[in-house]
Symmetry: C2
Subunit: 145 residues, 2 copies
Amino acid sequence: MAAHRERSRCPIAYCLDVLGDRWTLLILRDLAFKGRRYFRDFLGASEGISTKILTDRLQRLERGGLAVKAPDPTDRRRAKYFLTDDGLDLLPVLIEMIIWGTHRHLDPELSAERLARVSGDRAGTIRRYREEHIAEREIALQEVS
Amino acid sequence: MAAHRERSRCPIAYCLDVLGDRWTLLILRDLAFKGRRYFRDFLGASEGISTKILTDRLQRLERGGLAVKAPDPTDRRRAKYFLTDDGLDLLPVLIEMIIWGTHRHLDPELSAERLARVSGDRAGTIRRYREEHIAEREIALQEVS
DNA sequence: CAATTTAACTTGCAAAAGGAAAGTGACAAG
DNA sequence: CTTGTCACTTTCCTTTTGCAAGTTAAATTG
């Protein structure tokens, strides 16, 4: 996709080199908010990604420095995936998408409380998810060394 | 794309029904930040969208209630496109993408001032773009009546 | 220990989406 | 009226995705 078009100077276009496809964003969501870590966890998401696309997108995220893989010391066939610090810098984008999607789609009555909580304290929400992710990541990476 | 998969309950997944492709996001950028209004304006963006994809995406945005078309009273062959209020609700997402893209890609020295300005006052930036867009849209829609 | 299962991919084929360029119909200009 | 412009539309080819089966290495079972 990066080879698709000459890269323009606009930051959104650059951002889209990484994010301009649905599957990548869903994987980021799973990593950031759903605690999915193993390959098979992502397969379990309800959107039904194929193994081929999942493999491709995880590799892209790794190569692009947005995700990292910590081999599982208890089972060498598998590894846990985590967002890097650069990957975590996308949390604000993802949070705004949640807010927009919630506001537009779900029953306003049911979502009012949740929406108010997240949008009322974006920075707090982001910081919480970030810190939890980093803590889990560091532990997983240490177990490998 | 909406028919692609059973729609999940996750707001991000719903958001991606609208936003899960690169071209749509680039068009939203053009509408929101670059003042592009006419069909040919979007063709002029450096990413080089084809007329087929542009037509398709503009129609999707209209059908989805995110964009509206005001016929040009001076030339019946063309119309001006604008974001609706729902479309403008995506500004926070786009702004966060700009911030992320700027931070990650461009020379930090050159972008430090711009980045600081936008991220330092997200709400102010969003409000400014929103109000300008609405003002221009209302004028264009009135000229039609 | 061998057989079976599991986990993460990989492959093959069909369908869908996108790219490039030419074509079409309606409107505008001279 | 002829020619040019504008917004699409069509055609053909390439790329990506969807679906399902296949492969390899590691783990588990008996």
